[in-house]
Every structure is written in C-alpha cells, then in structure tokens.
C-alpha cells in the first residue's frame, strides 16, 4: 500500500478549565491516504472538532499544546513554527466549518476574499486571480460568477455561503480538505447539493477529504473509511461498508440501533443507548463506554482497550466485541 499522506500518532489534547483539566482527545492515531475520504463520526463533545483544530495548529487559547505527532510531507505539523504552519494551512490542508461566517469576512466582497488568498499563496497577479476566482465559483456551482464576485457574504443564503467557503478552501489546490459538520446547519435538499459537490471535487481535484459529522447517514453516503469516536478516542475504524454491515464495537452497534431509519420496514421500537457520556475530567483508565455497555467485562473497567484489528482493515477498541451472532442476520451473510 502507498505511503500515507497524513499520519496522526497518539494525538492528545487537554484543556485548562476552572474545574480542572479536560481530557478532550486521548491519544488517537490514524492514517489518511491521498485521494481518500475519511469520516470521523461521533456525538457532540466527543472531540471531533478539537482533533481537526489540533492537526492544523489552531486550538483555542485554553488548550495545552497538543501531544503526539501529525506527520505530513516529512514534517511533524505539531512542531512547525507559526509562519510555516500558516503556509501549510493556506495551501496544503484547507478546512471548512459548519458556519461559513466564522471564516468569511463580512465587510469584504466575496471576490476580494477569494483573490487575496490566490494572490498571497499562488502569487497570481490581479487579473489572473480574478479569472481564477470566477472559475472557482463556477466549479462550486455558483451561477453568474462574474457578478457574484461583487457580493458580500450576507447577500448569500446559507448553502451559497458554504459553496463560497468551499471555493476558497480549494482555491490553492490543497491535498487535504477537512470539513467539520459542513452541512449540519443546512436543510436536507441543500445538504444533498453540498455533499454532491464535495464528492465531485474530491475526485476532480484528487483531494483527500476528512469529513467530520455526527450524522451516520452522511458518512455512509460519502466516506470510503470511517472512524467512530467516543469520549476522545476512536472506538472503531474500518472501511465504511464493513463497519456499517458488521459493527463490532458496542457503541457503534448501539448508535446504529438508536437512529430512526427512513427506509425502516414497519414500525420498530428504537433501542437507545442507556445513560449519558461521562465527563472528560480525568484521563481515562478504563473503557469510557463501559458504564453504558451491556458487553462490558471486568477488563473493560480496569484498562483502556487498544484498537485491535479484528478483520482486515477493521479495528475495534473493545475487550469483548459484539459477537457476530448478535448482529442483524442479514448484515452478517451479506458481509461475507
């Protein structure tokens, strides 16, 4: 297999708070290959956003410096100087957020914001940058691109703003795009447009995509591989297809049982996951999911389970994975 494009090892992020240290991300590791789409899925507060902010060196002030390493192009991004990191952020790795207004400047026209980044990072002259900006807006599906350059962000709808954000993000042809809940604030028909656009751009630009979302349906439709996150750690990772067909971590299986499916046949009662996530106020010394888990064994309460490979490319962090006999029957036979 080819060298990974990005390699994250034992990434750990802690925050200072009045009540003590918050252990937001507890030693996660993963690789991303060129052109691949990787989903990071989990419920709110599990550490998805913090993971991506740490990789890009833009953690909020309350955070301690991240531990671990994020290797990209032979360099550890966690050890780069601010100036070098800014270069990487603009050019090699771009990020889009749930609310595009956090990255768009409300008092500058869309055109100005697009061309400025092109001129700074790609050293284009004014006219070339303008032409490129028009072509970018065109590529993200904004019609009358020439006229739209003169518009301000507030003159766009939520979906259009997200398109502008995407245009800015891809303007310097990044190798990696990190999209943090890019469609969470949008209506479903607009979400469908934006996800189509992302899929198209990923293949056209041969960009790798890290798609962060709480929505299992969104990863199912977009991602080659999926990492499921719980309380600051990955509990299950694998090819999206096999992870959904044979979820072996009790949390993954629990999530899939608790979401209502549009295509459900007949009316079945949902099976919720009992209890709530525990606080992140101490460094985990056991499986974080154990208190809510019917499969937990003594070991789960004594030790942090490491990610282990249980099928080719499919990893689970669990001392007592869901037995195949407990999976929906259809799922097992189909996966074989």
């Amino acid at each position: 297999m080819s060298e990974p494009l990005l390699s994250v090892t034992d990434l750990e992020v802690r925050f200072k708070s009045r009540r003590g240290t918050i252990h937001a991300v507890n030693g996660i590791s993963f690789d991303l290959r060129a052109g691949e789409t990787l989903g990071i899925v989990g419920e709110s507060g599990c550490g998805k956003s913090v993971t991506s902010l740490a990789m890009l060196g833009i953690l909020p002030r309350q955070a301690y410096p991240a531990d671990g390493s994020v290797m990209f192009g032979g360099r550890d991004l966690l050890r780069l100087k601010d100036q070098e990191m800014r270069e990487v952020r603009g050019k090699d790795i771009a990020m889009i957020f749930q609310d595009p207004m956090t990255s768009l400047n409300p008092i500058l026209t869309i055109g100005r914001q697009l061309t400025e980044s092109l001129r700074r990072h790609l050293k284009m002259d004014k006219e070339t940058a303008r032409e490129e900006a028009v072509s970018l807006l065109d590529r993200v599906g904004i019609s009358d691109a020439g006229d739209r350059l003169r518009s301000y962000p507030h003159q766009f709808s939520g979906g259009m703003r997200q398109r502008v954000m995407i245009a800015m993000a891809i303007s310097c042809r990044p190798k990696i795009l990190i999209a943090d809940e890019p469609t969470t604030a949008l209506d479903v028909t607009i979400q469908a447009q934006i996800l189509e656009l992302l899929k198209r751009l990923v293949s056209e630009e041969q960009m790798a995509l890290i798609l962060i979302t709480h929505d299992l349906g969104v990863v199912a439709g977009v991602c080659d591989r999926t990492n499921v996150m719980y309380a600051g750690g990955f509990v299950e990772t694998g090819a999206t297809e096999s992870l959904f067909a044979t979820p072996r971590h009790p949390y993954t299986a629990g999530l899939l049982d608790s979401v209502p499916r549009l295509d459900a046949s007949g009316k079945q009662r949902l099976v919720p996951i009992p209890g709530t996530v525990k606080t992140l106020m101490e460094k985990p010394t056991s499986c974080a999911f154990a208190p809510r888990c019917m499969y937990a064994v003594d070991e789960s309460r004594r030790e942090v389970p490491p990610l282990r490979e249980i099928a080719p490319g499919h990893h689970v962090a669990c001392f007592n994975p869901v037995p195949e006999s407990d999976l929906p029957q259809g799922a097992i036979t189909e996966a074989r």
Binding site: E43, M160, T189, A220, S258, P260, R261, A264, L270
Partner: protein
Amino acid sequence: MSLPLVEVTDLKVYFPIRSGLVVERHVGDVKAVDGVSLTIFKGETLGLVGESGCGKTTVGRTILRLYEPTSGRIVIDGKDITDLPERELRPLRDKMQMVFQDPYSSLNPRQNVGSIVAEPLLIHGMERKEVDAKVRHLIEVVGLPHDAANRYPHEFSGGQRQRIGLARSLALNPALIVADEPVSALDVSIQAQMINLLEDLQDEFDLTYLFVAHDLAVVRHISDRIAVMYLGKIMEIAPSQELYTAPSHPYTKALLSAVPIPDPKVERSRERIILKGDLPSPVNPPPGCRFHTRCPYVQETRCRTEVPELRAMKQGQVVACHFAEEIADGKITPRSEMVGLAP
C-alpha cells in the same frame, strides 16, 4: 377512524413587514402560512415536515392561538377557537400544550424542578399535598431521577431538560401536545430515549401529537400520518408508510431522496433527486405552484399560473400537484438535468 381533535381550514398567518424611519409603513407580508388545511385525529401523531422557514412552527403556534391567525378557521374538539377571546381560551389552553426544541429558554433558571412542574397545578388551585404526589409521579413517568425535584434546570443535560419541560406540560392532563422539534437538538443516543418516551406517554396519557420536525426519518418513525409543507403550503398528507413507499408530490420525492440513510449499500444504489437552487422568499412566493421553480417535473404554463388545490389521490392521501397521476403512472418523467444518480 377516530374523531378529529383539531381541524384547521384554509389557515393564513401573515407577518407584516414595516419599514420607514419616521412613519412606519406596511410594505409587505411574510406569508408564513398561506392556506393550510389539516385534521388531527384523536390519539394519532400527525407529523409536520418541511425545510426551515416553510411555516411549521407558525402552524403549531397558531393552532394553540399563541399567534393570531390572519384568516381561516381553527376548531378544537368541535369548538371554533379562531376568534375566541383570551378569557374563554384559558381553560382550553390547559388541554393544549407545547413542547419546544430548547426547553431551557422556557424554564425559569431560579425555580427548582419541583416547583416548575408544580406551578400549573397550583395555579389551578390543587391542594399542596395532592400537588406533591402528582409532581413526584410526573417526575417518575418522564424518567427523571427521584431527587430531581430539588435541583435546578442548569444541573441537567439537554435531554433531561426536555423531560422537565415534558413533565410540566403533562401536569394538567392535556389532550393535545404540539411538539416543535423536540428532539432536534439532541444527540442520537439521547434522541432515541426521548422518542421512546414520547411514544410511551402517548399510550399512557391518551395524547394526540402534532409532531413538528425537519428530520424526515424521525418524523416517519413517530408519526401515523405526515403532512409535508413547502413555503407556507401543504404539498401532501399521507399515512407515514405510504408517504415513504409511494410519495405523490414531487417535493415529497425530492425531500425523501435527500435524506441520508445510515447504510452505505443503500446510499450507493439510491437514485437521488438533487434540487437546484434555494428556497424562494415567503414574501414573494412564486405564482402558481410554489414549488414550480425547483420542480423536476414542472410542466408548461399550468404549474406557473394555477395554484394546485389539495385533492384526494388514494385512500387517506391528499396532494397539491396538477400532475400527480401522470407522474405516478410514469407519463411525466423528471428532467434529466435535475436528477443526479448518487455515484
């Protein structure tokens, strides 16, 4: 079928837009709800779906007369309440409760949970002793911990606050609950707990629900029938199962096809209708059928010029589309440039 509890006929709710610095002039209206008719039968759950701004909340609040209708008629349990003065409305209000997306804003942070739940009972002149017993019971049925009564809203998680709001709503034995996006702010594992609770409470207290939400998978799960709204109008009403298996309105089809399904195999093979463009403004809605500007099945002139009435299709299914039959028979097919096959 059981008797109707709520009958709404041609309901319009316009919000005036005023402008001018010195003299305020009425320059137009947000036509938030523009001719909605629907019936909610006793004991059922009617789901109301549609994208943000289509008027779902306004319908819900106007049924409870929290907003004044501009025109139309609202009948609750046989009584026309459209123009009922506030004094006569009050006893009815107890029987119709609302549950919100963010219960926090409707809970007094300085009141403990016990007194939040007790308040409506005390206002009604219930004996203190009886109140305490009832509060204890309500706290238990919504699944809050036993010591919740002495604690304050901020000590609880989002899901539990939703339960506090629910306990209070149930205090006066309502017949109707309008639940406005009650699970939209919750994570899926907590959302499932809440959905199950709502289902249990419906059985236990004989409740009728108007369940307002934008998440079609949730709505399909919980509803007996579903009404689909677009820009202030109902596009289709059908039993939950039929709406999914045989949607009649092009908008319903598009909406269904846009909902992601947590199954990669299904996602890969699904046919998708990707609508073009954004929702038009409810200040100046498109003439004719409101959906015609984005409709993949749009036909010359009639769709642009004539407003389609809601009419019966099959058993229990009504639809507002001029060409619903032709579309169902495959005589009219979607324009190819508007249908993307999911790659």
